[in-house]
């Protein structure tokens, strides 16, 4: 099945107008020596019913939160996607539109992005947000590049409690620019040892709160120390915590970045997600990516456009603030709808459920013989569980019993070899929690 409208007569009419005898003649400018000269080795075409049954067969051999109660975390979480959010974000007028280069025909996307930016500023207590970046990791990498441009320094200190995949992406991004990325160890309480950090000569200090272990960190102290050393403070955070927890802006951070998929976008094996990015107004001309702004039209009526484009690659080319062009607008629109669905009370409830239910899970799991909850102190929606068993094996065993947990922390932190992450969202019921506890007990005793 293809999706082409041409009849044989249409093709003939078009060729006549062009003055060529055949479609092949259109390609005569391509040297024969480089032509492929055979059909591509691609599986044969399928009709729509055949395609759907093939896709269903593949999907049936993949198990996720549809089949198992999901307590897995590490940067992706099984949050509720409200029906209204799914319905609105999947409207084809949003989903099948292009970047709003013609504002008169794109007021819907532009206003939705303006609302998204406003909502993100509110969440993070900052003054400027962009129209989104690819994911949490690239948002962090872009924030570090901003700090390097602003300060003219190349040293960056990152807490080891920032999601290690983000640190890995940051290292990859910064390798081209030759930045010096230093990772600060964590202490017994599962927070980075900022007290012992030397921030002299740093472009940025990168602190996560909540961090990869679910623990809250003292962002304000990091921001003060970074500012004292002439650098910026970048805070990696979680938008679902912002109804309860102090925002990065309140704590003095200069840039807040986060993974925003939990706002209205399904886990989808890690993408498409949405990188959230907000900063102070004084840094607006260093912001990467697209920004929607309000103005008026020729009749004086309120209108929205993409603005400050002189920062961007299509104008500044090699001197642009970033190479980003395509972002994750549709995911940003879903996030805007989701935040409007929640409102301040809903967001506070969401945060409260995550915090209190995680504490309850911690209490239950701590009662299982041999199990320890690592890292005491306030946490958001994730905890580190240590057991006598190999963590990867335990995770596989739990999956057989109907529960997703993890990831195992050994690959990221060799000293946490028998540890795994457990995340608790508003989707987990009393029954799920009891079931997980029982499953872990059984796995540990029956192994």
């Amino acid at each position: 099945m293809d999706f082409l409208p041409h009849t044989t007569e249409d093709v003939a009419e078009m060729l006549r107008a062009i003055g060529l005898p055949s479609v092949d003649a259109l390609f005569e400018g391509i040297p024969a020596s480089v032509r492929v000269g055979r059909s591509l080795e691609v599986p044969p075409a399928l009709s729509e019913p055949e395609l759907l049954s093939h896709m269903r067969e593949l999907a049936s051999r993949s198990k996720g939160a549809g089949d198992l109660a999901c307590f897995a975390g590490g940067g992706a979480y099984d949050h509720h996607v409200p029906s209204a959010v799914r319905a609105l974000a999947s409207r084809a007028e949003f989903a099948t539109s292009y970047t709003p280069y013609q504002p008169e025909l794109s007021q819907g996307v532009l206003q939705a992005v303006f609302e998204f930016q406003s909502l993100i500023c509110e969440l993070f207590g900052l003054e400027v947000a962009n129209a989104s970046l690819y994911d949490g990791a690239s948002a962090l990498a872009e924030a570090v590049n901003l700090a390097v441009r602003v300060t003219g320094k190349e040293r960056v200190v990152v807490g080891s409690t920032v999601n290690p995949n983000y640190i890995d992406v940051l290292r990859t991004y910064s390798s081209g620019l030759g930045l010096n990325i230093e990772v600060l160890p964590y202490g017994d309480d599962g927070t980075a040892k900022w007290d012992s950090a030397d921030l002299e000569g740093t472009a940025a200090a990168v602190v996560a709160s909540p961090n990869v272990f679910g623990r809250l960190e003292e962002v304000q102290g990091v921001a003060e120390a970074a500012h004292g050393a002439g650098g910026l403070c970048i805070c990696v955070t979680d938008p679902t915590a912002m109804g309860i927890l102090r925002s990065p802006g309140e704590a003095g951070a200069d840039v807040a970045v986060a993974e925003g998929h939990a706002l209205g976008n399904p886990m989808a094996y890690g993408g498409p997600y949405v990188g959230l990015f907000a900063t102070k107004l004084e840094l607006v001309r260093q912001v990467p990516g697209r920004i929607a702004g309000e103005t008026v039209d020729a009749d004086g009526k309120r209108a929205y456009v993409l603005t400050l484009q002189a920062r961007e690659q299509h104008i500044r080319r090699a001197k642009a603030t970033s190479n980003v062009c395509t972002n994750q607008t549709l995911m940003a629109i879903a996030a805007a709808v989701h935040l409007s669905w929640l409102g301040p009370q809903g967001l506070a409830r969401l945060g409260e459920i995550c915090i209190r239910n995680t504490a309850q899970v911690a209490a239950r799991l701590a009662e299982i013989p041999g199990c320890t909850i690592r890292f005491d102190g306030p946490r958001f929606k994730e905890l580190v569980l240590e057991t006598p068993a190999d963590a990867s094996k335990l995770i596989r065993g739990l999956a057989r019993r109907g529960f997703l947990a993890g990831p195992a922390l050994g690959r990221w932190y060799p000293d946490l070899a028998n540890c795994l992450l457990i995340a608790v969202t508003e989707r987990r019921t009393e029954q799920d929690i009891a079931g997980l506890t029982e499953a872990i007990e059984k796995e540990l005793t029956e192994q």
Binding site: A17, V34, L330, A399
Partner: protein, 502 residues
């Protein structure tokens, strides 16, 4: 004379014209709610016991308080003020806005794809990994490459990934090459990615045919050159017919060739980048493979490379153990440039691209190129007298015309674009590529019909007449849209980038 047009729907949608739509914040009323969430577990400790005051927020974020009905109407109305491929044609040159099949949406929404956790054990997601494996093999054959990473979330991220691999390749040979050559007609992402990857962009001018100037290229080439980035066909819609000589010249000095897949849709099934001599290829799946572009994203920019670059790919890499018949991610990649994405890239988009690929099969894929080129050339001849093509002759999937002849009437390319909106069509790309004055860059794509293209052509011809007879009509356009021309200078001067309470 022209066309019923297609933009009228924006104008006619009930309740969407006037007045300007309020912001969602302006609909807020304290006490309204759309949210519905359970209580926290009853026996759980209280918030005050768990979170000390220094970690608590001082005041709640000022999110809107609206009912679900308010919410749904607001965003539905916003959507009605937006052009989309499901509404009408989008002939934006270089953007490849073709129809996005609905079946791909159904496929991506299946729980066995949409609800997978990215950290879960490989054994749980064999179907998803097999899908990626088949997609990789097909895209490798279509590009003539050996391996693929699906991590890049968009073309520009693919570019950066490829350039960092280029850097790793040279460093592995003990060479610290500094420059990457790009033609002056290149997309802005090319020089921006070059700079981010730590290279210097060296732009070379095109020749009088709009192609890479071989002499200028030869002069630019030396052992300090890490590689050349090229779109072929280029942004002028012209096939670089000297590509073999270009490749040989770059390879001779030890450089690599990077293929920017922005225009791959015009050659898929006809020519393979690998056969032209390219070493690294990114694809924009939202272009060639018809995934919806979401108002500016998501995209997906998988990067394919030849065998000699394979070990530098981002980690992890997908592998199949044929003995155990098991797919898995291999994280043990000592020469890898590292990760480029938090997880596995825009997986949900890759599912859609896979569904499209399986729908089309090999013949369907080749027809993409054939009809994209046919449609572009048909439109080109329809408007050539009114808007001369910058580089005459047969084009590939797009062409660049110039509105320069209208300048004597005081009419600019932007005026043509805006008037086209009133006649019912989304405008082409304007003022790009920079090498053509008053550029109108047009790409109808293969999914537009004879009738749509004819109507678009007639509208453009009508506008060229109006430029002489009534230029003011063009300056005042558009008149039929929810808003008229916005004051962009004011937007950049008097910054209003978020809502704040009055």
């Amino acid at each position: 004379m022209s066309s019923a047009g297609e933009t009228g729907v924006l104008e006619r949608s009930a309740g969407t014209r006037d007045p300007a739509l309020p912001l969602i914040f302006e609909l807020s009323k304290a006490g309204r709610r759309a949210w519905s969430l359970p209580e926290a577990q009853e026996e759980a400790p209280s918030l005050d016991d768990l979170i000390p005051p220094e970690h608590r927020r001082a005041s709640p974020p000022r999110l809107p308080e609206v009912s679900e009905r308010d919410l749904v109407r607001h965003f539905t109305r916003l959507s009605q003020r937006n052009w989309a491929i499901d509404v009408g044609a989008y002939p934006l040159g270089s953007c490849t806005m073709k129809y996005n099949p609905k079946v791909a949406e159904d496929a991506a929404a299946m729980p066995g794809f949409s609800l997978l956790h990215p950290h879960c054990d490989d054994g749980l997601v064999q179907g998803a990994l097999e899908m990626l494996g088949i997609l990789e093999r097909a895209l490798c054959d279509a590009t003539g490459m050996a391996r693929i990473t699906f991590q890049p979330a968009a073309g520009a991220q693919g570019e950066m990934t490829g350039l960092l691999m280029m850097r790793a390749f040279h460093r592995d040979r003990g060479e610290d090459r500094k420059r990457v050559i790009i033609p002056d007609s290149a997309h802005g992402t090319n020089p921006a990615s070059v700079a981010l990857a730590g290279f210097r962009a060296h732009e070379v001018a095109s020749n009088s045919d709009g192609l890479v100037d071989l002499d200028a290229l030869e002069k630019a080439l030396d052992t300090d050159v890490a590689g050349l980035m090229l779109t072929n066909p280029n942004t002028l819609g012209l096939f670089e017919r000297d590509i073999e000589k270009i490749a040989a010249a770059v390879h001779k000095v030890g450089g690599l060739l990077y293929y920017d897949g922005a225009n791959f849709n015009s050659i898929v099934g006809v020519v393979r980048p690998g056969d032209m001599g390219f070493d690294i290829v990114h694809l924009n799946l939202h272009k060639t493979f018809a995934t919806p572009h979401g108002g500016g994203g998501p995209g997906s920019g998988p990067l394919a490379v030849s065998q000699r670059l394979e070990r530098f790919l981002p980690s992890p890499v997908l592998e199949f153990d044929s003995g155990a018949e098991r797919w898995s991610w291999n994280h043990d990649r000592p020469d890898s440039i590292g990760r480029i994405h938090s997880f596995h890239g825009n997986f949900g988009i890759n599912v859609r691209a896979y569904a499209y690929l399986r729908s089309l099969g090999p013949e369907g894929l080749r027809r993409i190129a054939e009809y994209a080129v046919l449609n572009a050339n048909y439109l080109r001849v329809l408007i050539e007298d009114a808007f001369p093509t910058a580089y005459p002759g047969i084009c590939m999937h797009e062409f660049v015309s110039s509105a320069k002849p209208l300048r004597k009437h005081g009419v600019r390319a932007m005026d043509v674009a805006k008037r086209l909106i009133d006649l019912g069509y989304h405008p082409p790309t304007v003022y790009f590529p920079l090498v053509v004055e008053e550029a109108l860059m047009v790409e109808p794509t293969e999914t537009e019909s004879l009738e749509t293209i004819k109507g678009l052509g007639e509208a453009l011809v009508q506008i060229s007449g109006e430029a002489a007879s009534d230029p003011e009509l063009l300056h005042q356009a558009p008149q039929s849209t929810p808003v008229r021309r916005p004051d962009e200078a004011r937007a950049a001067r008097d910054l209003r980038l978020r809502w704040t309470p009055e």
